[in-house]
Symmetry: C2
Subunit: 395 residues, 2 copies
Amino acid sequence: MTFATHWQACPTPTAPKHLNATFVRAETATINTMFAPLQNDTFLRACLRESTAHTPVWLMRQAGRYLAEYRETRAKAGSFMGLATNTDFATEVTLQPLERFPLDAAILFSDILTVPDAMGLGLSFAIGEGPKFAKVVRDEAAVSALAVPDMAKLQYVFDAVTSIRKALNGRVPLIGFSGSPWTLGCYMVEGAGSSDYRLVKTLMYQRPDLMHRILTINADSVAAYLNAQIEAGAQAVMIFDSWGGVLADAEFKSFSLAYTQRVLSKIHKTFNGETIPSIVFTKGGGLWMSEMQSLDCNVLGMDWSVNLAKARAQLGATHALQGNLDPNVLFASPEQVTEQARAVLDSFGQPHQGDGKGPTHIFNLGHGISQFTPPENVAVLVEAVHSHSKAMRQK
Amino acid sequence: MTFATHWQACPTPTAPKHLNATFVRAETATINTMFAPLQNDTFLRACLRESTAHTPVWLMRQAGRYLAEYRETRAKAGSFMGLATNTDFATEVTLQPLERFPLDAAILFSDILTVPDAMGLGLSFAIGEGPKFAKVVRDEAAVSALAVPDMAKLQYVFDAVTSIRKALNGRVPLIGFSGSPWTLGCYMVEGAGSSDYRLVKTLMYQRPDLMHRILTINADSVAAYLNAQIEAGAQAVMIFDSWGGVLADAEFKSFSLAYTQRVLSKIHKTFNGETIPSIVFTKGGGLWMSEMQSLDCNVLGMDWSVNLAKARAQLGATHALQGNLDPNVLFASPEQVTEQARAVLDSFGQPHQGDGKGPTHIFNLGHGISQFTPPENVAVLVEAVHSHSKAMRQK
């Protein structure tokens, strides 16, 4: 079964394409009988640089170990992959943070490494350790054996997307995601996380031809994967270039950015008449702002090292900005959390108001939330972002 | 014994201060009967933005595990600290890379964490692991107990400096160094390396007052430590802000940069009539170029993520630039090493030529050399830097 026919056979929403492909979420949702109409479109509007009544907020890794209820579900599932591959469990944990906090978006519960797993590399997570692959890709033979995986192997992800979107019942939009081609490549060559990226960089510097072949396959796989998530119900997609920042300047452009752009050039910009915003987050990529500005995406994610005022001044209004509180702020007192959240909002400054498009901000952490975070400080954070960003708009 | 009287009692070079405090190395070295005259001043001249016949090159961690002779000496010493605290061993390993490669500078063999060790925190290195401290500084009581250490506890470092300078016999200049106040603070709070800096950032966000107290003590300790190294014979000093890059934008300025500047404001700019250049290297600090430009140092070190052409354009000629080849390039073929070394030189472009001062470049890696590096590729690198940088000057 080819990729295309597989997708034709899938139980994804197939409402007729809206004639006017502009951003008409409400109407489309009515047409689309599979999912409830969206009640809170703040996140999607901010992604598209439209005005909102407050600055939307969600947190990378918001469904995770800092929540007791997550740890309970995780224990029932037996393993991380047991959790990610079970539709009910994945749905349950995705919604857990929304039960506690008035977040403005949900993000699919999954891992960035599902795609290389589907390529046959054998992903596993040992307790207390990071991800590991049973097979690694370090030579010509291993590279030759690589191919865009049959998306049927990732059906569990798409089923989770559809299930979560239904369970959300229109409360907030659902974000799908993938690792970037380069970030997936790092893990595929190293076989695990790394402190120096010696193996993947050795391959990159010694055999750039092989590295480019891996990255081309990764980019095409990620594009197919994100498109399938969109077809299954994802309302926005995010590409995590978690390891782009470890590259040298020239190599970042040719081995990371170029393949992120290849993904962006292949993914759905609209689906079922709805605009599907895309977000690119390069951890440690702050000094390549002007290079990233060339990306055909809607939002650029920033880690905490970036000054949002400077980034906004540099970028103008080509992209919305997402970020960028240091997750470690959440270990301070509630008053300090509030103060730091306000500082991030003030650093971005007044977002676009009124009609048309202009500079907008989506509040987030600069990286994933720590497993040791006190959940009560997350409540404080979300409240601070909502109230301060509303107050800013009154000025 | 106070710090000052201790230093008056030390057997450091005490040649009369040259009346004209400009850069008059050759004459001063003659005055100074303790050390031989300097034969290769390329590195020092480039630090001071003076023209040189070639671009000087040295490598961070050039005396290290990638050399078989280092591993032999290390085995004799029994432990890393056994190596660092023994004057003969420290001298031997510092000179080892110079026996193999025509490097333009030597750097004291030591560790960045000797200062907190002298504060009584108990530094050790387990085989195959990073540094560990027996005591940590995480609360008010531990911070209250901190003080600038008696420099007598670091006498082994200053003895090594004098011994190495003598053994160098004027071949190339000797660089002394220290960790930055912030980087030392990271280890003092965390007790070891960290992947998320949760403990030190928790303290910083919760109790900025305590963090500032630690950093003030660290800055004053580092200044005393570097001054003592200069008095013992170091001809340039480098501050390694290895963990400055993990900070958020505002916190980098107040918790890292401000204390690096405090050190710089207190260290000898000249000694015995010789100008003592200072280098600041912030790993991951490329996006704070304009902030770092305010530092009262001679050279800014850059990691590989920085585009040297852009950095030069941004900085003008206020500071010499040092860097920035990705150490992983040294795992490629000799031809590729040569090509990448040339690309770094070409990226900086033609350095200042003729009289006066202008933009200059000191070639280095963007971080320490890997223990797995084939030494023959280091020979290729040094040759490529020397020959290509000479050829560039003929254009």
